[in-house]
Homo-oligomer: 461 residues x 2
């Protein structure tokens, strides 16, 4: 019940922040407080817009049209940097870059890919051709041009993007970020595809077939440092670029190192944990994300709620437990319910602009198309056509029993179910933990990175 | 015995023509007659140089250095055509284009790829770094530039080369020739690889990483019209671009249509016939190619011998019966002896500049490295390391029994063994045919295409 309420709280605030955006930016705190000075960041496109796309797509059109209105400023910024296309601001309120700190601000060029990805997802779900012709193609083209001019081929023909800061913000000004590069590749391909769909719009933007081909080539040859441990962020957002084995190995590696000092970490860790089989751990992270503001865990709810993290909590329900992935425009579901939950049900606005209801129980899932043309989806890897004729029921394979991974000392997530309860076979409503959880240390790099003074670190364990 | 002598005759004339070339062109008639006015064509690079590479590589260096000496003329020609790089002449004696007929002359741009391929093969076998730095890289770069500027990407990102004439010379000024495009792709890749091996030479030639990447991309995305029946030429020269099924299907399709009115047709048909399993048919084509001038089958031996066809007869022995392929610098053998032969043995100069002796008997092959470092080869698809320690023996699987394909009426090759003898299990020396073979019609498009007046066609059957 507590988490049910928390998810409703999260959904309410996300909708509040976005649903009446009316072509103004969606700030990091929504309309709930003065934190971050009303600025918007990349996490609006990366966390808030995906949720809104599947629930209230019209608000996404508004949010992206706001970005489109700021294109001239973004183009000017690119020119000032000696680059082509548009360099969208890392931190802004009206379209100008408001971060004065290059390494954690402008160098986080991946915001371009987050915007492009949001355009692509919105377009897939709504098939809104007016939007695409008026704003979508241009957003994709100008962001692609940024990548093409920012990167370069090496002598072996691999396309490198050096000197960028990844979404973790720790590896500032590094080469070939494992998140940025596959996201840039997706941006480049999406731009070429959009130009091919709308040759007249492309021509108006000065795109010819050679330029589009140069985007496809850069995407095709992009260097992804597979031999380095991958970041958990990349494993979700650019998941199609990695194998299941790479994901399992890299999650195991990162889980024992990740201190989770961004409010967005728990969302991503929950989703990847569930994907690689750690569903109970995912559930604990789910609770952490969903209760972040309600429990004031960061001691800063007075500044306003964390809209992206709240959206992220809802995305955990969809992507971790419902197993939703939308790479390449195809919806794939791999539902995995944690033992504490007997059911997760939700409705999504899905491609062809129809409505799909998904009802996940521990051993089966039911897909019901409420309106519109049949759609093709995947359920646990099997292709499936869902029609409005009747609900489609699929068996859900049992979740494997894996040893719970460890976290850095003091950074273990609060357990929703005590270990003793875990052998109890009967699913139950989420219970309060029986043992007091260790309090999370207050070190918050998420504040430092956005230009606030860093609080003194607590003594390490 | 007759064919043994014919192969020696062929090898003698090929060596005569090429071995003392001394940086002058190798003409179509070698030094044996006035035919073709002493001009050289693409078949020197496509047929003569491969044989010389595996037998007398130094002469190949001379022949290619002659091409290199004519680069300024070829660059001038490209400029006149509004193209970059070098457009080597279809027909020449001193480097200028001597064909006045565009569709069957200049438009046969595939000569660029034949030259590049000869450079690549020579380089693989000899590892002659002096040649590569002084001539090889530049030949590859300038031919690649021609392709890159001649072709263009379409809106789907496929690289097209339109308005060219293929090696068959029938489909003049056509789009995306099925031979030309994969050969151009190989040229483009080879240039990028050579530039990466010799960055200083590449820089001197004005090649940067972006240009090299644009070659790789064009090669990667090149349009190959797989849905059209393939030409037999492409099945051999660009064989790596097609599957075994495609080869068998397309050989069957073309064999019943091909009138074999070029003296080079029999060579290619023999090799592809053997590859898809028609070894006896291959043997008949082998005889036709080897005896072409000795029997004066084209009634023009007085003009001089057909050097490329003679070289082609030797290549049949290597590539059809010895099953030699050298795509990508790796030697692969798939020996298949026709019933008439009990043994085919030859020595090759092979990669790492060593000498490999190959002795093929009906049920086994023996590979003996005479000098040098161990080399890796394939025998019927199995990887194999051959060293100087001891000969390596491998079993050869039996050749499948396939129904003999048919040719257009009147174009059946002369059978070396009458059908009645074919059930005789004991291998024998080649026998004269017991039945008189139909005389081949005298229509010779190979003369027309090289600018001579076309003789009046005989009434069709």
């Amino acid at each position: 019940m507590e988490l049910q309420r928390a998810v409703r709280f999260a959904l309410f605030h996300t909708l509040q922040a976005g649903a009446r955006g009316e072509r103004r930016p969606i700030p990091a705190k929504g309309l709930t407080g003065p934190g971050y000075d009303g600025h918007t960041f990349w996490d609006t496109e990366a966390f808030v817009l995906p949720l809104l796309t599947y629930t209230r797509p019209r608000s996404v059109s508004d949010a992206l049209r706001w970005r489109h209105q700021t294109l001239d400023l973004a183009r000017e910024r690119a020119r000032a940097l000696g680059l082509r296309g548009a360099a969208f601001p890392w931190r802004t309120i009206a379209g100008e870059e408001c971060s004065g700190y290059w390494p954690a601000g402008t160098a986080a060029f991946h915001i371009n890919a987050a915007i492009a990805n949001a355009v692509e997802r919105y377009q897939t779900v709504t098939e809104d051709e007016t939007f695409e012709r008026e704003a979508g193609v241009e957003l994709l083209v100008e962001t692609a041009r940024l990548w093409r001019s920012l990167g370069r081929h090496d002598s072996a023909g691999r396309f490198r993007i050096d000197g960028v800061t990844g979404p973790d913000e720790d590896s500032a000004i590094a080469e070939n970020n494992v998140y940025t590069n596959p996201m840039a590749a997706r941006n480049l391909r999406a731009a070429a595809d959009a130009a091919a769909r709308h040759p007249d719009v492309a021509e108006h933007l000065g795109v010819d077939d050679e330029e589009a081909a140069s985007w496809r080539d850069a995407a095709q040859t992009i260097l992804i440092p597979y031999d380095e441990p991958l970041q958990v962020m990349a494993l979700f957002f650019a998941g199609e670029a990695f194998t299941a084995e790479e994901k399992a190995r890299d999650f195991a590696y990162y889980e024992q190192l990740t201190v989770r000092d961004s409010s967005l970490s728990a969302c991503i860790q929950a989703i990847v944990a569930a994907e690689v089989g750690h569903v109970e751990l995912a559930y604990d992270y789910f609770a952490e994300a969903a209760l972040l503001d309600l429990d004031d865990r960061e001691h800063n709810t007075r500044d306003g709620v964390h809209i992206a993290s709240l959206a992220g909590a809802c995305i955990i329900a969809l992507a971790a437990f419902g197993g939703l992935r939308d790479h390449g425009g195809m919806l794939a579901f791999t539902p995995r319910l944690p033992p504490a939950l007997t059911r997760i049900a939700f409705s999504l606005r899905v491609p062809k602009n129809t409505q799909l209801r998904i009802d996940n129980e521990p051993t089966q899932s039911t897909y019901t198309l409420l309106t519109g043309e049949p759609i093709d989806i995947h359920h646990h890897g099997q292709p499936l056509r869902v029609t409005t004729d009747h609900p489609t029921r699929c068996a859900t394979p049992p979740t494997p029993t894996l040893e719970r991974p460890t976290q850095p000392p003091g950074r273990e997530p609060k357990r929703r179910r005590a270990p003793a309860e875990r052998t109890n076979g009967s699913p139950a409503a989420p219970a309060r933990p029986t043992a007091p959880a260790p309090r999370k240390p207050a070190r918050r790099r998420s504040n430092r990175r956005r230009g606030r003074p860093k609080p003194p670190p607590e003594p390490g364990p």
